[in-house]
Amino acid sequence: MIVADQKPIEEILQMLEPYKRVLLLGCQSCVAVCMAGGEKEVGLLASAVRLARTSQGRPIEITEGVVKRQCDDEFNDLWRETIEQQEAVLSLACGVGVNKLSERFDLPILPALNTKFFGEVERQGIWTEVCAGCGNCILHMTGGICPIARCAKNLLNGPCGGVRADGTCEVSRNGPRPCAWVLIYERLGKLNQRKNMEQLFAAKDWSSDRHGGPRRRIREDMLL
């Protein structure tokens, strides 16, 4: 899923500063699962903003809502009339939802979240990046563990010298993380596929990543 984080409340209040009538629109997909922009978070943020603005003596009229998927006009259209009555919309969707609403409606669409990465639920309250969306999967060779996302250096022929004796990586963000290539080695052992380690990967062709600009997927057979 797409993992996002709510922006600091100070930043959100600053964005809302010029407005007196806004819609807080959440999304019931990825950001609801990662507890950043679902119905519950919409309610909480709306309450916090109302309290802050009331204590500033500048009350704000907030409408609360959620759509099934904010990356899809079909669902956003259900909110069209409400959206058109607002001075601005504070979107609690990922960046895709904010872009989608901005393309469709002629009013400011403000992001309440910082969109972070494609992640898994490690356990409740912890989400971890496991896919980088590089556009060319090699997971069948690496036991289903992605070195592009999970290795700090995106190494295809790891591990590097930065792996510690306990199997963690020298690069540590939010606590020590296991070396992706140690995980791959152990996983391939369990699958009896350790011979995969003997294959050297050639330099990666990054053209499928986003270095060539925004990507697009077209399925001719599905076009109407």
Binding site: I9, G43, L44, A48, L51, A52, T54, S55, Q56, I62
Partner: protein, 160 residues
């Protein structure tokens, strides 16, 4: 902001300990200020940050969250979870212009009726010293809407 004559305190109490302690305070005829409005939760682990914010929106000047003593939660760790949530809300409140002292978490057992009365007195005094937080109930429609939503949330929680 208009001033309340008396501060309003909302107390979210767990069924097994804090609510029973409040009940005991009544049975023992202990005096405590009538400003404390008790809302029973099945466990403080049911507490959501939204309950607290909605309480403030609905006109509360202070909020108490009271659960079992640590290690005695009927649901094992609900009070520990609630404590973490209260801490997170206390960090948020100053950013909304609300003094964090208006919210407090307490642990007490069902046998501590006197402690409940003491907590009620302490919080009323503390909040009275801080003054009224909130615009009066008649302030605007947001308050009324907040109040209704608050009741709805609590009904959903099985608290009312």
């Amino acid at each position: 902001m208009s001033a309340h004559a008396e501060p309003k305190i909302v107390a979210f109490c767990c069924h097994y300990c804090a609510f029973a302690a409040a009940d005991l305070a009544g049975v023992l005829r202990l005096k405590y200020p009538p400003n404390v409005h008790i809302i029973r939760l099945p466990c403080t682990g049911k507490l959501d940050a939204l309950y607290v914010l909605k309480a403030f929106e609905a006109g509360a000047d202070g909020v108490i969250v009271a659960g079992c003593l640590e290690g005695s939660c009927h649901f094992i760790s609900g009070n520990i979870r609630a404590k973490k949530r209260v801490l997170a809300i206390k960090n948020l409140l100053p950013k909304l212009g609300i003094a964090p002292e208006r919210l407090e978490f307490f642990n007490l057992s069902s046998a501590q009726g006197d402690r409940f009365a003491q907590i009620a007195r302490e919080m009323v005094e503390r909040v009275r010293a801080l003054g009224s937080f909130h615009p009066a109930e008649e302030e605007d429609s947001h308050d009324r809407r907040g109040s209704e939503a608050h009741r709805r949330d609590l009904t959903d929680a099985g608290a009312l």
